[in-house]
Amino acid sequence: MILLFEQLLNGLQYGVTLFLLAAGLTLIFGIMGVINLAHGAFYMVGAFAGAWVSIQTGSFWGGLLAGLAASAIVGIVVELGVMRRLYARDHLDQVLATFALILIFNQSTVLIFGRQPLFTSLPEVFSGSIEIIPGLPYPTFRLFVIAVGLAVAVGLYLLINKTRIGMLVRAGASNRQMVRALGVNIQGLYTAIFGLGALLAGLAGVMASPIVSVQVGMGDEIILATFVVVVIGGVGSVKGAFVAGIVLGMCDTMLRAFLPGLLQQAMPGPEAQALGVGISSMGIYLMMALVLLVRPRGLFAAQG
């Protein structure tokens, strides 16, 4: 029972990380119509900038600010320098360009930081664990990650539903031409959204840096799962990204935690283990395939 609860928390924490990445990606996707394979690079930039500054200054919070700033700036530069020229182009050209960006970002990171993974420690306040229910000590930092993720979700909800910019974002996600017709400064809006998306990805990167290994290519591994979240949630829908992120995070964690054990009861030995892990690795893709077969445009498709 305690194990189940703990795994649910783990799933929630993975889910909000996916949400942070997917929120920006789904907006960029839905509003600008751009397939940005390089979104994971912002995650990596956030993690590296955050880790490096926190090593230099000894402060996690300094690193957090640096990570956010670096990823947002890199995002804006990419938008101004590259993406802006590709909005009118075919999806496939965007795929090629953002693939090239991945290569450039990865190798530049090697040149700047070298090949050794960076060390980051937990902020002092969050270095321990809290006994949430008796018998279950849970790392405080992970609770903090969950809290930040949920706070961002609330913030984005308010931004999108209560502000003029949010109105434009919603309009843009459901009908791209309409926003153009409204006579707003589209270019500025696009740059801002791209920067915001990069910033959220950078936030995810900084939050992940004390937990996982800060290394080159770390963004490439998580970007696939992020795309899965975006597509299941429905392209352009932040709400969809939230729901899909949490559900996917939960399912992935639950499958990995319990499927091998369950299989072992049904069939003998290590083969069950291996099979269980194999199936749970496929889990999110299986889910996506199933969701798309039932709802071809995802759960909360913004575009009609």
Binding site: N10, V110, I211, S213
Partner: protein
């Protein structure tokens, strides 16, 4: 017969003066991606080792990107175009599985500084294929033996769900003999929270885990964050706690137990020379076992080049087979399959004065061990 061949080739080698610019050595290794630091360690260690022998050489280094396709492509060019007959450097088993047959079929020599998959250690062994590091299974058999020696009887063993991971758990289990709960992790997984919960739930006496590189860093950090570090001991094979991993993990590694075939505190001249040379050349970068293996590889190759006096393959092969070099690990010999016969040690990860983790050698747990596949090798 073999002796006759050897002396004949020595004669030939003596008759033909070696080229002044040195023998070309092909280094195929992984320099890009998350595992790029492993290739860097190997390249740098190899260079220092060769320098220590004073042999005339020239390194031709190329990145395989951990992709067997690329590895074979590079090997082909080195062998057939640049006329290189001596290759080394591969980090990963899947790359060496593809490249080594290519090299030996072409009549050239391959010396492994790291990966040594079982497929090439038994019936498919080859006179031109040498392994300086260890046979893959040996690493984890040592950890199994260590856990047994420390008196544990139940263990949780974790490894990624690929062949090397399965081999790791199998190797550990073989020597451990106790009750083992196996948990396989995802191949590209970086968050192990779910596994931490399971480890706590199983409440075994000891944890064994095999996660090289970035995965290992993430695993150790999270092990501490989950509050498991103080409560359940962990035994590690050397790829899971190399010095680069420890540097990135920081204090979270203090208190773990490891096994290794070499450690920086070894008290022999060759090892001390290497540690000093490394500190002079790469003061910023920790020295890992990867670099040490490559350094030994450099000693072996350089020594053989000096003995054979050039790049005649038969002469080089014979010189290497003799394994006449002072290994940084102390005792070293080749088994029937030209894989090492060596000692294994128990280590502890302790805190230095600054609180950073440092590996301290405790005791020898296995003496002069070869591998189980040597018996199948008929050379």
């Amino acid at each position: 017969m073999k002796r006759l061949l050897t002396s004949a080739s020595v004669l030939v080698a003596l008759a033909v003066p070696s080229f002044a610019e040195g023998t070309k050595i092909g280094v195929i290794t992984t320099l890009s991606g998350p595992a790029g630091y492993l290739g860097e360690q190997i390249r740098n260690g190899l260079k220092l080792g060769l320098d220590a022998t004073g042999a005339a050489y020239e390194l031709v280094v190329e990145d395989d990107g951990r992709d067997p396709n690329t590895g074979v492509q590079i090997a082909d060019r080195m062998l057939n175009e640049e006329g290189i007959t001596l290759l080394t450097g591969i980090v990963f088993s899947n790359v060496s599985g593809a490249v080594v047959p290519e090299v030996t079929d072409a009549g050239a020599i391959y010396v492994s500084p790291n990966a040594a998959p079982s497929g090439l250690a038994g019936a498919k062994c080859h006179p031109n294929y040498f392994v300086v590091s260890w046979q893959n299974d040996s690493l984890h058999e040592a950890s199994g033996a260590a856990a047994k020696k420390l008196g544990y009887t139940t263990a949780v063993a974790l490894a990624p769900n690929y062949q090397a991971g399965k081999d790791a758990i199998a190797g550990f289990t073989r020597e451990f003999g106790g009750e083992v709960t196996e948990i396989y992790t995802g191949v590209e997984q970086s968050d192990f929270a779910s596994e931490m919960a399971q480890i706590r739930d199983k409440a075994a006496q000891v944890v064994f885990q095999f996660h090289p590189g970035g995965q290992g860093i993430a695993f150790l950090k999270q092990y501490q964050q989950a509050g498991l570090l103080g409560s359940i001991p962990m035994v590690l094979s050397e790829p899971s706690y190399d010095s680069v991993i420890l540097k990135a993990v920081g204090p979270a590694a203090v208190g773990l137990t490891g096994t290794t075939h070499w450690n920086a505190d070894f008290d022999n001249a060759a090892s001390k020379a290497m540690v000093a040379a490394w500190a002079a050349a790469f003061p910023e970068t920790p020295l890992t076992t990867y670099a040490q293996q490559a350094y030994d590889t450099g000693l072996l190759i350089g020594g053989a080049l000096n003995t054979a006096g050039g790049e005649d393959v038969a002469a080089l092969q014979a010189a290497m087979k003799a394994a006449d070099f002072a290994s940084t690990r102390g005792n070293f010999a080749f088994g029937a399959n030209q894989h090492p016969v060596q000692d294994w040690y128990l280590t502890a990860i302790e805190a230095d004065s600054a609180g950073n983790p440092v590996i301290v050698t405790k005791e020898k747990i296995i003496e002069a061990a070869g591998d189980v596949y040597a018996a199948d090798c008929k050379m």
